[in-house]
């Protein structure tokens, strides 16, 4: 399976995703510039963390007008895996591929540290290698990570098992219902604030993120049906 890592102006965790997939997992991965119009030949697409367009206006708000965006939306509609971490998650919500929005952390500050998470749903393309309700730890690094949606949307997310990760101890950003990551209804688009790509090598002190990429790779060139 061939995976695209999108490089938006201001992306900066693109290298980290690329290395996690390519060097650590041995996957077939390539950078794709936001200038491109097509993702033909790719089986999955990843939106990295960083500060696309400087996070000016709102995090992720401007990136959705780039040339590549229609191709990403098309892949999502085709049921192919689409993954966004941190700024990638923010872009996915701004583009309407995921519900809700990410708002400024309650502390009003950027926060970088490891946080305990619960894998709420291990029945997704991205989490099949985790145990049900497994506790893991992943790094976060963001200023706008508070997941917000109205009650109805939140209830629907829970009812459809779209909440995939939850903050397990403290809530680091004011996220409603401690939400750390969600999928779309179909389950092929995952957005999460924590950085699994920062937790794939023992030398960096944490390998809890590795199984997310392994899950995706073993599930192969899947297409998720309705």
């Amino acid at each position: 399976m061939r995976i695209a890592v999108i490089v938006f102006p201001g992306s900066n965790c693109d290298v980290d995703l690329y290395e996690a997939l390519g060097t650590v997992c041995g996957a077939d991965v390539a950078y794709v510039s936001h200038h491109e119009h097509s993702l033909v030949g790719f089986d999955a697409v990843m939106l990295p963390g960083g500060f696309s367009y400087g996070d000016y206006l709102r995090a992720g708000a401007i990136a959705r007008f780039t040339n590549i965006m229609p191709a990403i939306i098309k892949m999502a509609e085709e049921g192919k895996p689409v993954f966004g971490t941190c700024n990638g998650f923010q872009i996915l919500t701004e583009a309407g591929l995921l519900p809700g929005a990410l708002k400024r952390n309650d502390s009003q500050r950027f926060v970088c540290k490891a946080v305990p998470l619960e894998v709420v749903n291990n029945q997704t393309l991205f989490t099949s290698r985790y145990r049900p309700h497994e506790r893991i730890s992943l790094p976060i690094a963001h200023a706008d990570g508070g997941f917000y949606a109205d009650q109805k949307t939140l209830d629907r997310l829970e009812a459809n098992h779209q909440v995939v990760f939850r903050y397990a101890e403290e809530n680091p950003n004011g996220s409603l219902r401690n939400i750390a990551g969600i999928t779309n209804q179909r389950g092929n688009v995952l957005g999460m604030m924590p950085h699994p790509e920062r937790a794939v090598e023992a030398i960096l002190g944490n390998t809890d993120g590795l199984r997310l990429f392994k899950s995706l790779l073993t599930n192969g060139s899947v297409k998720v049906g309705e």
Binding site: R58, A61, K103, R104, Q108, Y148, A149, G174
Partner: protein, 83 residues
Amino acid sequence: MTNVRIFVTYKQSVFDPQGETIKDAIHTLGHDEVTAVKVGKFFDVTIDATGAAVDQAVKEIADQLLVNFNMETYHYQVLEEAE
């Protein structure tokens, strides 16, 4: 040429801790008569158009870009208009 000021705020239902933090700081300065603080942002936009075309442009820009309707709302004010 029209100058428009577009105000964007969180919806009433969205908790905004920033205003609270600033209120506390104001109290530290001794201004206890300040009982509430809300924070918002605004965009001063110069538009090379007048009349209805301005309203149309503002609506489109706000809808598509400046406002995230999941959590925000907006209103605007025409500051000055000149032919």
